[in-house]
């Protein structure tokens, strides 16, 4: 057998052919006999009392089977759960019913559903539902919402405060008082719309006779959905099957269990028919979670020679109208602990206020908390460099945690597993020719042609591979974060791998097969990676937090090694040798030193499955499970560098070069890792330059379509030059750290730092994202007029 090493090979993604030829099976592709279509009527008001709701005309329309409102759910469907109950934070979880009963709290809040023969009739029927609203005062901004006299969303959440979470390490106040230099800055993490290409969808199939529910669902974590259905709709967990075959992107937005899912299940149970609901893009904009939306105030203390000594952060996080499934964990745990970044700052304090407003609920969006943290610290480093007239490279090097210090407990009390921050920075600087660029920049500035050149760095570290279950419990996450895996070798030598993660673009159907192939010596095409079906897979916590390979992959590897161990014992029996003498390579088992007499893994699998000739006491079959609970998070890091040219007359930013040097531990498939980095960077550039979900004063999302919400196109994303250093994760067997989110976490601040560097000669220090041409132009105008220099 001519198997080369699979670990480290750029195997083409096995999921791509079906996806690019239209043969994928997305939720909306499941068409069941007798299936009905559900439509959701949504509130056009951000805050209002429902004074009249008349569904008679809609019910009378031919082809309509039922119309339900919030009252119909009472006693049948419990409110939508929030599952990240951050401790010691005075947390208040408002009741989030799948349909509003008397008060709507954001534009998009569900008010009624129609179930009809098809979606055409359903849409017509929605138009026939008569609702009268009594408008209430609206608040959309979290800072405003906290002020006395602001409109109140709930009587039991005074000042709209859902929680106040605190973190303290060392003595931040003392460090700031003693600091030779103190810098204050406010950063706006604007609200973003995740915009997965596939909108959300549910096909609910209630089998009344068996008392069983099958739900086809666009989810990143089918087992969590199964659990949540069981506790909110009173269906025993073992009578629920959740299937999520192909999922067309998520970026975190398909972690939560949503009202639309609950309503499709409810409707199917009431009507005893399969019910499908698929949101349209307009609904996706208002009724799927949003990301970020934080106002972050920072104070940094440092010595005159650029050593950072103390840090205080206050984060006002806009949670939206309700607390979405994982939302409280995002601006707290996932943000605060990693804020000190690659640096040795120990005296650090952070306060996070979760605020309820009349907006779409926010939750995890690619990076979830960590992009905000990396942005904050990397921008502060640049501001400090500017203040001290130092090179931003020098400030970074001066504050880096040295490679010799790992494992290192950072100012956020995280135990960084491994790192070498100088190494990735060195490589990035070399790739970009940093000195050469600074020279060209100086020359260009002398010529002064209305185009400003700038360079921006981001030396980031992030925390992923979520997570030791013990840590999850301590953080108030109402679940574990371990992963199971099963590796099953069939009689014909084909292999089924079961994983509780649910990859939806990250490529693990390929990389997990590579892991197994590497150890078993079975070709990749003989290995099927099964995910996204709760009846096939015992349990799983899903795909998010860059955990799939680091946690789920480790489980797969360990189960595979157990299979190898059994294969070895069976080979010894078949070769009439001692197991200690058996060696194996590329799926061939033989007595060390006599490679002519061989049992292949296929021979062994056949015998294991026939079980005609097993050693004494060995059970039949060739299948092993492993349950892996990580002992720590993982900490990928790297250095991104962006070069921009800013057009003074139009305010346009053009990215001339983008360099991404990432250290994500060991790499199973370089091509897939490059793809993850490129996609992540594209999203980070989107936040830096283009995307912004904007509400007007009445709580209407004015950027509620692809026309007005500017997701960048391929033509706006530069060629991304990727490179890697490799510092293995020391605490899992794969050595993998994770790469799903690094690109997004690393990139926005590289772009903003570059623009601010370009405009530094004008005295401009900060511009809030997104750096639209208009905003950049306005900032330049103000600077030229001698006015303010950015916010």
């Amino acid at each position: 057998m001519s198997v080369t090493r699979m670990f480290g090979a750029s195997v083409k993604r096995r999921e791509d052919p079906r996806l690019i030829t239209g043969d994928g099976m997305f939720t909306d592709d499941f068409k069941l006999p007798g299936m009905l279509q559900m439509g959701v009527l949504r509130s056009p008001y951000a805050h209002a009392r429902i004074t009249r709701l008349d569904t008679a005309k809609a019910k009378a329309l031919a082809g309509v089977h039922a119309v339900f409102t919030g009252k119909d759910l009472e006693g049948k469907v419990a409110p939508m759960p929030c599952a990240w109950l951050v401790p010691d934070a005075d947390l208040k979880v408002p009741s989030y019913t799948a349909m509003a009963t008397d008060t709507v709290r954001f534009v998009g809040d569900a008010v009624a559903i129609v179930v009809a023969d098809d979606s055409y009739i359903a849409d017509d029927a929605l138009d026939l539902i008569e609702v009268e609203y009594d408008e209430l005062p609206v608040v959309t901004n979290q800072e405003e919402a906290l002020k006395p006299g602001a409109p109140q969303l709930y009587s039991d959440a005074p000042n709209n405060q859902a929680f106040h979470w605190k973190f303290r390490n060392g003595d931040a106040d003392g460090a700031l008082q003693r600091a030779e230099v103190r810098l204050k800055q406010r950063f706006i993490q604007q609200r973003l719309v995740p915009n997965a290409m596939e909108p959300r969808s549910s096909v609910a199939d209630w089998n009344a006779g068996a008392g069983e529910l099958t739900l086809y669902n666009t989810t990143q974590n089918p087992h969590i959905v199964r659990f949540l259905i069981s506790v909110t709709q009173n269906i025993p967990e073992h009578k629920i099957r959740v299937i999520a075959r192909d999922v067309g992107g998520g970026f975190g937005s398909k972690i939560p269990y949503y009202p639309g899912d609950a309503l499709a299940i409810f409707a199917s149970r009431m009507l005893k028919r399969p019910v499908r609901w698929t949101e349209d893009r307009r609904e996706n904009f208002v009724a799927t979670i949003h990301g970020r939306d934080q106002i972050i105030d920072v104070e940094l203390g440092a010595t005159r020679d650029g050593k950072m000594t103390g840090l205080k952060v206050t984060n006002l996080a806009n949670m939206g109208a309700y607390l979405s499934l994982a939302a409280p964990g995002v601006p707290t745990w996932l943000f605060a602990l990693i804020v000190p970044g690659c640096y040795t700052i120990q005296d650090y304090a952070c306060d996070v206020y979760g605020v309820l407003t009349n907006t779409t609920p926010t939750d995890a969006y690619r990076g979830a908390g960590r992009p905000e943290a990396a942005f904050l610290i990397e921008r502060m480093v640049d501001l400090l460099a500017g203040e001290l007239h130092m090179d931003p490279v020098d400030v970074r090097r001066k504050n880096f945690i040295p490679a010799s210090a790992f494992p290192y407990t950072n100012g956020g009390t995280l135990s960084y597993d491994s790192g070498d921050y100088d190494k990735s920075l060195d490589l990035a600087l070399k790739m970009v020719d940093y000195e050469g660029f600074r020279q060209r920049q100086a020359e260009a500035r002398q010529q002064g042609k209305g185009k400003h050149l700038g360079i921006g760095l981001s030396t980031y570290v992030e925390v992923c591979g979520l997570a030791p279950s013990k840590a999850a419990g301590a953080m108030g996450f109402q679940g574990g974060l371990w992963e199971p895996a099963t590796v099953r070798v069939l009689a014909t030598g084909k292999v089924i791998v079961l994983t509780g993660t649910n990859p939806h673009g990250q490529g693990e159907e390929t990389t997990f097969a590579q892991l197994v192939s590497e150890e078993l010596g079975v070709p990749v095409e003989d290995i099927d990676v099964v995910h996204g079906d709760t009846s096939a897979i015992s349990m799983g916590w899903g795909t998010y937090g860059s955990r799939t390979t680091a946690v789920g992959g480790t489980a797969v590897l360990k189960a595979t090694l157990k299979v190898v161990e059994k294969a070895k014992r069976l080979a010894a029996h078949l070769l009439e040798a001692n197991v200690e003498d058996i060696t194996h390579d590329h799926g061939r088992y033989y007595v060390a030193g006599s490679p002519t007499k061989v049992k292949t893994i296929q021979d062994i699998a056949l015998m294991a499955n026939l079980a005609w000739d097993m050693p004494e006491g060995m059970a039949p079959g060739l299948e092993e499970n492993h349950f892996h609970d990580p002992t720590n998070f993982t900490f990928p890091f790297g250095a991104h560098i962006c070069i921009v040219e800013v057009d003074e007359e139009t305010g346009e930013t053009k990215i001339l070069r983008y360099i991404a040097v990432d250290d994500v531990g060991r790499v199973i498939n370089p091509m897939i890792v490059d793809g993850q980095v490129q996609g992540g960077v594209a999203q980070g550039i989107g936040q830096a330059l283009y995307e912004h979900a904007i509400y007007d004063e009445r709580g209407n999302l004015t950027t509620g379509s692809m026309l007005d919400y500017t997701v960048p196109n391929a033509t706006q994303i530069p060629f991304i030059e990727t490179a890697r250093t490799e510092t293995p994760c020391p605490h899992n067997l794969t050595g993998v750290k994770g790469v799903g989110e690094t690109g997004t976490i690393a990139s926005s601040q590289a772009v903003v730092n570059a623009v601010c560097d370009a405009l530094a000669p004008l005295g401009i220090k900060n511009i809030d994202m997104p750096l639209t041409p208009e905003k950049v132009w306005r900032t330049i105008q103000a600077a030229r007029a001698g006015g303010t220099t950015g916010s």
């Binding site: 349209d280 307009r282 904007i694 004015t702 196109n713 033509t715 706006q716 208009e774 306005r778």
Partner: protein, 290 residues
């Protein structure tokens, strides 16, 4: 995002189109490429009971020079304009404009006639056609009439077309020996409507500008002709100073409103910048052609 119910008609000749219009005087809309109308219907912002598709009407996709003019059939697709060597070489301003209409998928369907007849001030062709001094041909059972693009564009989404008239052709005067055109657009992202855009045509007599056309996109209730700027340029060489002043006058002619694409002063500044850049580009192209 499902339109209200409607009937679809696909007549095979102009007289059949007129019949359909006559039968449904209040609730029919003509469908060309559908790239503006269909989205409006999907949002249920437009609910016509009848769509009259022009795709089977013959001779609507002419793209040729004839009798001193470029003749564009109303159903010429943007993609056809973008790919036409004739347009690329002789009418670079039209080529610039068609290449920045929305995105390639839209351009495969969208038509130049639809772009003009929809009369959205954000559409790209109206301003370029103003700069080029185009004429529009309308046909009805009462006969055929030609009107200037200035007269054709009445107001926001309003043209001079009568209810029984169909826009059939656009005539663009052939470029003079030493002339050049250009269309420059600033957009928030590829495929978006313009923050502002400027179409320019310059003709030269020796070193001196003999004719200037300037049209502005999305900075007023309809595409705007920058008349003062045009008049200022005639008889002058395109020096830096002249270009700057013309750009200032063009910005003055703009009448933008603040929206997600920016405040008024920004849009004016962009008109000024794009006018100057488009004038330089058009002058360069005129030199290159000469």
């Amino acid at each position: 995002m499902i339109p209200d119910n409607f009937s679809y008609l696909a007549p095979a000749s102009l007289p059949e189109v007129w019949d359909a219009l006559h039968e449904h005087p209040d609730d029919a809309k003509i469908l060309a490429g559908g790239q503006s109308l269909i989205p409006l219907m999907k949002f249920r912002l437009a609910n016509p009971a009848y769509l009259i598709d022009l795709r089977h009407v013959p001779d609507m996709d002419t793209l040729a020079e004839r009798d001193g003019a470029l003749v564009l059939g109303a159903m010429v697709r943007e993609a056809a304009l973008e790919r036409s060597p004739l347009i690329q070489q002789r009418y670079p301003g039209i080529h610039d404009a068609s290449a920045v209409v929305a995105d390639p998928l839209v351009r495969n369907w969208a038509t130049v006639g639809g772009n003009l007849a929809h009369a959205d001030p954000a559409n790209d062709h109206p301003a370029m056609m103003l700069a080029l001094g185009a004429r529009v041909v309308a046909q009805s059972p009462r006969g055929r009439r030609e009107l200037s693009i200035d007269d054709f564009l009445v107001d926001t989404m309003e043209t001079a077309l009568q209810p029984d008239e169909v826009l059939v052709e656009i005539h663009v005067p052939q470029p003079a020996a030493r002339s050049g055109s250009a269309y420059l657009k600033l957009e928030r992202k590829v495929g978006d409507y313009a923050i502002a855009a400027v179409g320019v045509q310059l003709a030269f007599d020796g070193e001196v500008i003999s004719h200037a056309g300037i049209g502005l996109t999305n900075v007023g209730p309809k595409a705007i002709r920058a008349q003062q700027a045009e008049a200022f340029l005639v008889g002058k060489q395109p020096s830096d100073e002249t270009v700057r002043e013309a750009a200032r006058l063009a910005a003055q002619a703009a009448d933008p409103t603040a929206d997600l694409r920016g405040p008024v002063e920004y849009k004016r500044a962009i008109v000024r910048t794009l006018t100057a850049r488009a004038l330089r580009l058009a002058a360069q192209r005129a030199t290159a052609l000469a």
